[in-house]
Symmetry: C2
Subunit: 347 residues, 2 copies
């Protein structure tokens, strides 16, 4: 973990070191994965040290999660917040076809979440801190994906914030980019869309249900415990099938527009072909965020399943035309421009 | 930049994309450094891509800065906050002897700071946003150190938070670690100590003075515009002089204890030898945070200056003894245990 210096560092009284931040850091260090072939040095020095195989590049992504914006402390269990924090970063690696190497976590927490007891006996849960349970969620998903928690930072904060950094290995020049789509390519998505938005809508109508879902990596809970498509991204990259890829964290309409912008192309998608999650609407499938499925373009030869997950062709890449929307939706009522309506801060 | 998805992504109305987050991101992207030999892909995809020279390892560090904890919006200029955010990460690279490669910035900001106008005509400053001026400070220091801003994330937040990730290259197995100090080594520091704490104390007594200090990389303002010892760390590593190193972000007493803990040794330092910054007290030099000088241990042959900065021997490494303090201060009054009193969160 890096240092937690502050401008307010003068004139404080002494205290036992083990009882504060250092104690928390020691606890995290004890739970994090050990150094291995690629993580030469993990938590405990000024920096971690990563070593790549000759011929590999390192993919790096950061994702910031903020209480009240990305999660609610009164809704989401700590396990869900931890799982979702890591899932966001893993999904970015998946979109590049990168193999996860190491994660770094910068956490800002109110003091009551860092070491005080939050579990309640009547929940049948042992009395463990919010941070401990957050780490259960994060480290459980990390282990399932072969990721070492190799460093980070810790600070006291009036609101809970978690910035996750993911690093991954990818063969030089072979990463899946947003910019490679070509006119004539098919447009594909993994899994189903709208499931996370539908689950969130259902849960938020009865917020007590949030706490009933325990840690799960089964993919059953698309909003609370999303499964990033790491294996599918790796497979796509190694098979050389995809010409461009992006993950659908901010909704299909937004991500497809990003992909078109970066590739200098346009897209037509068909409403009837979009795989809609159980209980979700077309609206949620088009614009709902946090599905963490992969959206990619490819020529011929795309299989119907990749690493156990369904793949659906939803449209095709067409030439961009000046002054026209990047994405056109073909529905029963005809053709209409599909305006990006996924999440955007500072709108 | 990575995605800024949110759980609150359903049921929003549409908006012009260029006016919100995407517009802000485009502005940052336009100002960030371009891809180069080591940064193969910068802002604009799901991940950045870094390429290392054969035989190099990648050092990675993250540092979280939070409004009200690490800076105050009513005290620090945006330029100072941006400069200090990057300086914290660069100082961690310096402590490992790593050469800076790329930075990643996750920013959570209240909407008024992201795009509204904060400059006042009576300050003689053009009307630019807080974010623009923050980037002035951050990118100015980045350019001076050859660092590309290669990615990050952006979100709306009730308080300003900035998490900086720094990556650096270091020859395999050659990084300066905290764990290499040997009994008999000398203990050295670069520059002077306590200057940042003294400057902060002087400024906070008259907070209007904060705004009078304009962007400066001269090292004149140790608290507002600290100069991380990147060149000195590189030189130390390449010369093979140091057996262990750490940066003094949290105060000498705290950092020396960390170094002793990781090396399994103890330390004796002499009060009269400690280089005290102009206007600072011994107390500030021992415990004041954010000096961002390097603390290292070495055998013989340490020069008096490294890359233009003074180096002072302040003590020596001795054997650890069970039940005794790791650090002993030798002063006029005799020997006393030096208890770590640097900054620690959650104490």
């Amino acid at each position: 973990m890096a240092k937690a210096g502050s401008v307010f560092s003068t004139g404080r009284t002494s205290g036992k070191l083990a009882s504060g931040e250092l104690g928390v850091l020691r606890g995290i260090r004890a739970r994090a994965g050990r150094a291995n072939g690629r993580v030469r040095l993990g938590i405990g020095d000024d920096c971690a040290l990563l070593r790549l195989k000759s011929g590999d590049e390192l993919a790096v992504t950061t994702d910031l999660s903020i209480e009240g914006r990305h999660f609610r402390l009164d809704w989401h269990t700590p396990e869900s917040v931890g799982h979702r924090t890591l899932a966001r970063g893993l999904s970015d690696l998946a979109a590049m076809g990168a193999e996860p190497v190491a994660a770094f976590l910068s956490l800002g927490l109110p003091a009551r979440l860092a070491g005080t007891r939050s579990g309640r006996a009547d929940e049948g849960v042992e009395s463990r801190s919010w941070l401990d349970r957050f780490l259960d969620g994060l480290l459980g998903l990390a282990e399932a994906n072969g990721v070492t928690l190799a460093g980070g930072d810790l600070a006291e904060s009036p609101v809970a914030v978690a910035d996750i950094v993911l690093t991954g290995a990818v063969a030089r020049g072979k990463a899946l980019l947003r910019s490679g789509a070509r006119v004539g390519d098919g447009i594909y998505v993994t899994g189903v869309l709208g499931a996370a938005a539908a689950e969130l809508a259902a849960l938020s109508a009865h917020p007590r249900r949030f706490a009933r879902v325990r840690n799960s990596g089964s993919g059953e809970f698309a909003h609370l415990f999303p499964v990033p498509r790491v294996a599918q991204g790796l497979r796509l990259r190694r098979a050389g099938l995809a010409t461009a890829a992006i993950d659908i964290s901010d909704g299909l309409s937004t991500e497809l527009e990003h992909l078109c912008d970066e590739s200098g192309v346009a897209a037509e998608i068909e409403a009837l072909r979009i795989p809609i999650g159980a209980g979700a609407t077309l609206e949620q499938a088009l614009h709902g965020g946090e599905d963490y499925e992969l959206l990619f373009t490819a020529g011929a030869g795309v299989p119907r399943r990749i690493e156990g997950v369904a793949v659906t062709r939803i449209g095709q890449v067409v030439a961009a035309r000046h002054g026209q929307a990047a994405v056109t939706l073909i529905a029963e009522g005809g053709r209409e421009p599909l305006i990006a309506r996924g999440w955007e801060h500072f709108r």
